[in-house]
Subunit: 506 residues, 2 copies
Amino acid sequence: MRPALPILLIAAMAAHAQPPVPANPASQAARQWRQTHERAIVSEFFDLLAVPNIARDRPNIRRNADLIVKMLEKRGVKAQLVEQGPANPVVRGEIPTPGATRTIVFYAHYDGQPLDPKEWATPPFEPVLRDRSLEKDGRVVPLPAAGTPFDPESRIYARSASDDKAPILAIVTALDAIKAAGLKTKSNIRFVFEGEEEAGSINLEALLAAHKDLFTGDIWLICDGPVHQTRRQLVAFGARGVVGFDITIYGPRRELHSGHYGNWAPNPAMELVRLLASMKDDSGRVLVDRFYEGIEPLSETEKRAVAEAPAVDADLMRELWLGSTEGAPKKLVDLLQAPSFNIRGMASSRIGDQASNVIPSTASASIDMRLVKGMDHAKTIERVIDHIRKQSYFIVDADPSAEVRMAHPKIAKITGREGYNAARTSMDLPVSQEVIRVVESARGPSVKLPTMGGSVPLVMIERAVGTRTITIPIANHDNNQHSSNENLRIQNLWDGIELMAALLTM
Amino acid sequence: MRPALPILLIAAMAAHAQPPVPANPASQAARQWRQTHERAIVSEFFDLLAVPNIARDRPNIRRNADLIVKMLEKRGVKAQLVEQGPANPVVRGEIPTPGATRTIVFYAHYDGQPLDPKEWATPPFEPVLRDRSLEKDGRVVPLPAAGTPFDPESRIYARSASDDKAPILAIVTALDAIKAAGLKTKSNIRFVFEGEEEAGSINLEALLAAHKDLFTGDIWLICDGPVHQTRRQLVAFGARGVVGFDITIYGPRRELHSGHYGNWAPNPAMELVRLLASMKDDSGRVLVDRFYEGIEPLSETEKRAVAEAPAVDADLMRELWLGSTEGAPKKLVDLLQAPSFNIRGMASSRIGDQASNVIPSTASASIDMRLVKGMDHAKTIERVIDHIRKQSYFIVDADPSAEVRMAHPKIAKITGREGYNAARTSMDLPVSQEVIRVVESARGPSVKLPTMGGSVPLVMIERAVGTRTITIPIANHDNNQHSSNENLRIQNLWDGIELMAALLTM
């Protein structure tokens, strides 16, 4: 999952309490295995983290892929690299299960976010253990000797420690535990470890579609992202879609002296603010006609899940220095189930010390909209454009000529209409209910969300291989994902191993 | 005058027609003198233009001041440098006239706009003559020999050829002509040539106030700026005042992921556009309460002058690629008599390729307002702030603390409240009517404007020495003032000499 979940400082955490023994037998076996192999598990993880994994670094990407193939093969999993055009290799693994009636696909990605090593406290590809988080002045400590337990609050610092090599390590360790306990898989299992998710997964859909048989399954479990800010396990059944555009409004050919022309020459910044202000009301409701048309309502189960999700609003407001929220009194978790219209940025001439006494020549804004199930990204853009036309704008898709500018009182350039739709797997499906049961048998009560706020191109996967997706993250919420000093809390790794053991044997 | 009037390309100009003989005897004498001394006049001008005159270049500023003192003394004018604190020297000259009952003060400035020599076709302080404008592929030509007339459409290229050494040269030449014709001044005459106008005249008011007796007069004639775009003589009786401010609206402490927080976290860019949109309606009317209160209406004379001013709107719209104007169907000249509210610039996060999927942390705009007679700049800002308060904003003047941000749903920071009021000398005053008569006796029908669109701190002069001001420019409108390749059309210099001769003998 590329978009980072927030770092929320939850004051009161029962930090060092040992989690209760899980109900799930595979999770129990995973705990037992882990408790006697902590040092070996972390050492194997360090080896994987030591291989640089920025998507454009092709030689190292291949070293990662080869190493993961070896890690799978060591567990008896048939593994291969699947390559297609310019795509970084996808590591594919398979555990066929005689008599199984379904296939479960585990997805993770082995590439990491680009980085600037200067911003890191220790080099990003030289993993270290700290006794606690850097924010709490954690110090680098040696790995405990074999047989000595790790402090569960200690953290591994390295690029992709959480995003998204942690699930890979959790899966292979769970396989060890299952085997050692003499447990068996009940479903056919497939693994898909992508090598360019942080570069936008631009080749994934084509690769999957070209090798559909290798990748299809009854359900894809997307093992990526952080758990809930309360540290409870998160199960997300979808993600909002997204579509964005840039808009530019045209004023005079060149910046004009605001004294000599103020009141007469149209000010594109003023026209832009009036246009944007017409699109959303005070309460946050989008005023574009038919914007909300076609939205699939939440089911009773989904509504209940949202209502039961722990509220984090007050804590977040403190963390973010907010005196109000846009959709109050609705909670964040409610509002994320609805579409949004967001100004990502605006620019016109200059401000502050750089400002001149001018009427700007152009004014631009960058917009993104988050979509929910039932909205189409292309139609949504068209409805926005219709709205702009109704405000008397002539629409162009490139800088207009002098003739076009003189022929129309108001002109808006709209560019960049890419996007994709939301995905939402029904929580009422038997497989959804089963995943929830299995997750909770491993990890206790979970936070279940019909839709995450961020956007993940789940629809592309669903379309390419004809499947459904459920997202099951394991990283701590405060993992510095996408930033410097990315880290994984040891207890989250331990929990993840127990969770994967349960899911691998469902 | 610092703000540049527009360069308007008027296609049909009766370019080479000799202007009719002026009615004014001093103007007639000036023409006669000029026609027999063209080469000497331009040579003296070249000597003045060859001295670099950027305000911060103190040694050369002093060379300019000393040279102008000599030029005045050569005409028998008692001249001196007046210095005060950090101000560049003001050149002051005086022609006492026995029996005179009034004093007329001629103001010009000898410093020029800062420049980048690389942008100039020829070095800015090595004046040259071109046979026509650079835009018409004018070539450098030698100065005609003494006795050979200059092409009136040829142009002098140098920094300050128009802004604002031209009036100084026109004045001293007019003095030669008056003397040669045996004419006399009727009023006491004073000259004030400033040396830091292009640096903002920041010391002028204090210098004038400290030496009030040296500078006071019944009327100050501000000899600066370009004539009307139609090439008719302009007489301006005032200028709009100006006041500006910057506004910043606060959202979350840091940029937030628009997926994970969109709909919930307040978007400062959306709040800013809604706030700004509340301040002005579609027709250009400012919606701030009491914004227009106290405005002194134009007199019948002033209204008639505005109605008679030639319309340049259609030409300007073509030049500026405009398909509409804000205050249509009102004309530019009408709209400049009213106050304006202008967005100079806006910024929030990033746009285009640099845009991220974020909710911005802040959004800012820079505003200027042009004021007309009867409006007070400080009160106007207060009324705007009241308007912002009515939209539920808490107003601060520095970045608010976390506590302040959490205590208020909406916060706006307002900074930079400097400005000054408009000045407008009544066209009905006897001296105003006399100036118009004298100007038209020299130059034929003029364009008379109660107020120019741009802002000039005329009120500071009026306040410092207790006088009134009328602005009488001589440069061509297409003079590249404030830019590279500044130039003066020769005919404008000839016209200026005749105009100054008339005004010096009124």
